[in-house]
Symmetry: C2
Subunit: 202 residues, 2 copies
């Protein structure tokens, strides 16, 4: 599964790094994730919400199996960087919308959900986000679900920050089975917590 | 509290990034942490265990209140980078030993404890580490405690990877009070889990 985690200035460190480490650890155990850190405009250093400087090694691809979108600073309206600024700028939500239209599964952590909402992807869909953005997400037309991870098929959203661990372990379980997910959880000494909501089949 | 998190090639991403974000989030709420990412030899890009490239902005200081030491790749004896390589090289453990002798509180996440052990700091002290290194830590003369965080005063150790969240939230509670620790846990949507072991007073 060709997978990218998209970084932008102001992304929340753990929103991106937790899924990154989980998916890499899973791929080392045979899960089929090929994971890259991308920036919309190409390789560069990106400054995260709390000041961590991380290298994005790729441009956001035009074709992907899975895209993970972190949040960051949605609640800080005066911040010159972060998810709200990216929503207002519009280029990143537009790219997310194009990927989704092309068949990419889109997953978000924390207020990354608001970039999906800005792309128009959450209307009428089940979703969740960080507590600070729940009302904004509801206003986008999403059906808010009180769960740590909400799997609505090609749109998977998670709660705040550390819920990215549960999102990624769920993705591992979904794509590679519960056994590898258990192994990775044990390696990271993480006890998953739920609930995980899945759209009923049929 | 002048605090550094020391990075080296092969450090485990979450071992360092989780405490970084927790302490920064706490300092934004008034906790007295001044946090820097350091490398023994000065500012540089550092490649973590799963490939994340992060910028260390400082050289390891000669005087600190608190040093946090991540682990990484201790269990992989063939790895050309990581905590085991740093232990064999010796320069980083020596620097950790000098800081401790100068009054710095040393905290470790995961197999970072083995760098403290190599520095000779764990003999006769209560400590913990990632499951993969418990016997090595015991062989260093440490008194292994079955806890997620072990606070032995000027030596504080934690279990594997995600226990760095609990380590850092404990440091926040210890230095700035339980109320700020609760606020940060809530912001990160993290439910702390224990146990936390503290040396009995007296």
């Amino acid at each position: 599964m060709k997978t990218q985690i998209v970084l932008y200035d102001g992304f929340d460190e753990l929103d991106a790094v937790a899924p990154y480490e989980v998916l890499l650890a899973a791929s080392q155990r045979g899960a089929p994730f090929e994971v890259e850190l991308a920036h919309l405009e190409g390789p560069r250093e990106v400054t995260a919400s709390h000041g961590l400087v991380v290298r994005a090694t790729r441009a956001l691809a035009e074709q992907l199996d899975l895209l993970i979108v972190p949040g960051g600073r949605w609640g800080d309206r005066s911040s010159p960087i972060g998810a709200r600024v990216e929503a207002e700028r519009g280029a990143l939500p537009a790219a997310i919308g194009r990927l989704h239209a092309g068949g990419t599964t889109i997953a978000s952590v924390c207020t990354g959900a608001m970039l999906l909402a800005t792309a128009g992807l959450t209307r009428g869909r089940s979703a969740t986000t960080h507590q600070v953005a729940r009302e904004d997400l509801r206003a986008s037309g999403a059906l808010l679900v009180d769960a740590r991870v909400v799997d609505d098929g090609d749109l998977i959203t998670a709660g705040g920050v550390t819920s990215g661990l549960d999102l990624a372990l769920w993705l591992v379980e979904r794509e590679a089975g519960a056994d590898i997910a258990r192994q990775v959880g044990r390696q990271l000494e993480y006890e998953r917590r739920g609930p995980i909501w899945r759209r009923p089949k049929g």
